[in-house]
Symmetry: D2
Subunit: 378 residues, 4 copies
């Protein structure tokens, strides 16, 4: 009998890209076996998709309720152990809640919920459950992000004094200037996407990354968002001033109208002993700046990296790994947790990341709507 | 019943990195299921490894002969359909030969054989068999390599007039200068590694890449290899002059004593209408030079790329993919061939690549030993 | 008799780097001859410096007043035609004012004055004079900055919708954390340096660059500055939100505690048809992003550049020019103006740049001190 | 009286770019004053050019013979001290010879002569004269090239074991494929340009650079040149194998048909302790590779650089200098030598560089013509 962790997936069927990402990530370290789920709302599509990806259809369920009901009937050592939620955003909360209440481990796509209130409820639910919960801030799985986190925590750049994170895309540019398109895009519809587009979708990655690599908490923020047109209800660009502890300041810049940008997520952290810079589109390079020495460029897989970073690299230096490998590392961490093996704090983003991310989104919008004023983040 | 292709693997057990690469690559497009093989020479290790990676042990065989014997007893629709050969180099030939003779499709690691003679025998074997054979020149699977191939074949850079390929590593530097280490490293032992170290291991990737992207054949070569020490019998560095059709010249530079280099494989092709440059360590950037226009930098996933390139990208622009994804694309091509679906010439390297690669190695060494003279490549 | 423009210099003696920069810049296009000035406050040093740099000492004056007095005695066709002011900041205003009133053309280092009020007075002075006045925002002279300006003005990136400028240095880091050093550095002393350190010194370059390349005016700003220590009276870091016309927003980030950064001045302008990115430390590359085409990288000297850009390049493509050449282009523009030749608006920064720069500094500090609120820039 | 060195220039008039380069370079360190010369063959143009660049016409001579004659009549402390030869190549030798024989210091553009024989004669001439002679291999003046030289000589990368230099341009591509153009271009006419186009013009820069930075001598070479068309008599591309001391090998690649390349001159030197890489188009970055540490990127002006490197940088880190500054450093070195100040070996390329360069060109062509065989370089 396989020792692989039994994985179920909700959503991710059809030509879903997020489905591809999670299936590949789950297979990377020989740890998971996808055994069932609900990939599509339509049952025929659901079965068809299972056949297409070559998995048995006996545990492909009609819907989420049946999934829960039937899996719970199975003996524990056959039951799905962890469920990945890749459904539309508004379903994340109810599904995650019920799964946790039913004793399943959960890997949840971001945004974890649609409101901060839901996030808090989910947090309470998790506290009562005795299970693992991860939210997939995918970019934290990169080896050089992990190395950055380790270098900061061990004092390599000293006391952090300046933080600058950018997440620029340009994809909404051809939509936003067309009145019809902007009225009909689900991402710009508050009913479907919550209160924020740009901050919610990518700004939150930046926020999480800052707290992830520095280990510090954002205390207050001041947001200036841009909606570009009066009839557009969702931010598509924003600059957010950040304050941490006293006199530690930062800025988070995020945009979906940075025309021509693909997925330009960059992180710069400066301390009193040096600086670190990283770019998601070139994830295998970590720039370490100091005052007196040449710029150092760290790359994955070298012995000079921390054990935590090295644990996320599969091949020797010079064999570039990418976004799938980053998500694979998060799945690897969850597998360790499920198997009760020792794992590094930071191997996967947790409920706290999800809760703070939701609060950040709501507070950023509030700051903007109140006239670009300082507001607290909880 | 799963529609996945039944995959067997020979070798790749223990902490083999090439095993990790092939298992992940095979899982990327939901096309393969690893059902059995011989991972380790020792049977207990073999079983233990199967359990570790979570696959059933009923088709884990004692050795290669048993593998063949037992699998052939199975009905065709249960039998392993394709076998990946990841064993030490000297086993590639006998295993591949027997597999082809027994009707299996084969994915073979490089070097395909240890001699050109073996390669020719294998080619004849394949001609009699009616199966698929791929040799894993992994780097040809990158989307931007495919794009380069397509741009050259459609005339974007005109008639090719200058070729320059580099494959520099530094890993042998700490070994070669230590008399004991260089005497005891298997890679420098002709008994174990054939007649060449550097040309055989990485130079051949460069040679294959040139012919892959240009569609041209190298006619003659002149090699100047470096052994560095009189007691070292294997080249660890070399520059090889190349001639194609009349007045089309090139150079292939390869080294394992380029101290500090990781896996610096770069390709530059210049035609009378422009040039193309690509680097393996930054595989998601293709530089297109022309005389009158700004440098253009192509990236994967954009609609301006060819369909062949786009078929090898799983996520939108800005989500970097890497070496695992490149190998995944080769497996994807083999899957199409096995399923008799339409595929692009170039989706996976073939027997011809393997045969020419072996000839290239032997001729390069011959050219050097004869005093750096021009020799033909068949 | 030489047709060169007779140049005088105030300041820049001893081991002044800014003196080197101006002397070289003035010599680049065979247009100027340095004939006199006051390089040092001490007369002996002054004469000694003149001898050291190999110019006649007959027009090296005791002080500024003597300079004016004696030069005015000379016939107009022997008199110094243009004076470069490189003295400590607080002298810029009185010297420039008197020079303009006395009919001299002036090239003034930045900051043009120490207060906005002075700047306005100087502007009025210039309006009455009939002379040329340039303020050396040196970075505007780079060929690719000029190309950026031209591309924006001709609509290549469409309507500007997002602006992001960064000017990061780290030089003050080793000073700011040392109580004694920060108390004794002139740059942190309001008596000597005015009301701002970081915004005044480098933020203003960013501000000018934005208005220079876009041709747009910043309307309102909201600044969050950082002083890091309670006993430090001068900003050494800041993020400044910018608003232009309705819904056109931007951000200016500036720091002198970005440890390890040298002179990292980068400009990103996004319009509804594309984006442009430029970095001062790599000044010969201009990145042009669009939605549907590969990234284009423009370089100086190519025929695809505008005439204005090409006028600032002296050698064919591939021969890198730098900061001296950039300043040389500004001097070239001033020479054209003095000689009443036709020149391009933008060949040198003008009084308006200087005045707005001073206002920007004062308003940024005001915004911060008032609690990070929106204030107007005149 | 000015202490500046009295400089004369031969050639470089009209719209000569090399003239601009030398005039600016000579003015960079306040060391030279251009006092006369022969800029153009036509006397009126000559005078007109002097007026255009604003220098007195009293020492603008009718021709080279008059130049010598008249200058020798002047007392030594008024006479031109150093003469820069920027004329067409075939005039370099006779002019340099006569200048040396007449006691002038000489700065000579490359190629120093048209044949190795001439070069040897010139060398003998210099030995009898007691003057300074420099040949302008301009690229050796870059601060990071100097740093590379210093790091190698002090053993930072250990014993050099692998050398790879590239000099790729594409400018001849639009000429070479047009029968008429290639017949009428002076650079492809052996009567006007000597026996080699590509090797002579740019390959020789690569050759000199290798010997400059490593301090080693090339012993033998094997060249494979490309002429592309039977009616073309001059090489326009070539790969040249290099041998230094035993088992130290290298390759020099040079092309003018690398379509789209501007001036892509790159240097890679690997030793048994590390490697160094530098690119002329990005001259302010020196990459230092080692086995166990992150890549280090050195930049000019930092205290970690050698004194020799720092002497060639005028501004603090982050203020990019370029090709004019590189040539300026060579002029600075010559000035020190003329003034009998202490200078660093390597501040300017010498007769030996010129002589070996000429021999290299002739031997490369000979190697090719003899069928790509090894030949000695003297």
């Amino acid at each position: 009998m396989s020792k692989k962790i039994r994985l179920g997936i909700l959503g991710g069927g059809g030509d879903s890209l997020i489905g591809v990402l999670h299936r590949i990530a789950s297979s990377m370290y020989d740890s998971y076996q996808l055994v069932g789920g609900v990939f599509n709302p339509n049952y025929d599509d659901n079965i068809g998709f299972a056949e297409q990806i070559g998995i048995p259809t006996n545990r492909i369920y009609k819907d989420f309720d049946v999934f829960i009901e039937e899996e719970l009937k199975l003996p524990e050592d056959e039951r799905i152990q962890v469920v990945s939620i890749l459904t539309p955003n508004f379903l994340h909360f109810p599904m995650a809640k019920k799964l946790l209440e039913s004793g399943f481990n959960v890997i949840c796509e971001k945004p974890m919920t649609t409101t901060f209130e839901e996030a808090q409820v989910l947090q309470e639910t998790l506290e009562k459950a005795n299970t693992i919960f991860a939210v997939t801030y995918t970019y934290t799985g990169y080896p050089m992000v992990r190395q950055m986190k380790e270098m900061i925590s061990t004092g390599v750049i000293g006391k952090v004094q300046k933080i600058d994170v950018q997440y620029y895309q340009g994809w909404i540019n051809p939509i936003i200037h067309d009145k019809e398109k902007r009225a009909s895009t689900w991402r710009l519809d508050p009913e479907k996407s919550g209160i924020s587009c740009c901050v919610g979708d990518i700004g939150t990655h930046g926020f999480d990354m800052i707290e992830y690599v520095t280990g510090m908490e954002v205390k207050t923020i001041l947001a200036d968002l841009n909606y570009l047109y009066a009839d557009n209800k969702m931010d598509i660009d924003g600059t957010i001033l950040l304050r941490f502890a006293e006199n530690v300041k930062g800025v988070l810049r995020t945009s979906q109208i940075a025309t021509g940008e693909e997925n330009n997520f960059t992180v710069k952290i400066y301390g009193d002993k040096g600086g670190l810079k990283w770019e998601q589109e070139n994830p295998n390079y970590l720039h370490h700046l100091t005052e007196d020495e040449p710029l150092k460029v760290l790359k994955p897989g070298h012995a000079y990296n921390s054990a935590f970073s090295l644990d996320g690299t599969k091949l020797p230096p010079g064999h570039p790994e990418g976004i799938f490998d980053s998500m694979g590392n998060i799945y690897k961490g969850v597998a360790k947790a499920i198997r009760k093996e020792k794992y590094h704090p930071g191997e996967f983003p947790t409920m706290k990341d999800g809760v703070r991310g939701m609060n950040f989104i709501e507070r950023a919008v509030a700051s903007h709507q109140q006239g670009n004023v300082w507001v607290e983040v909880k």
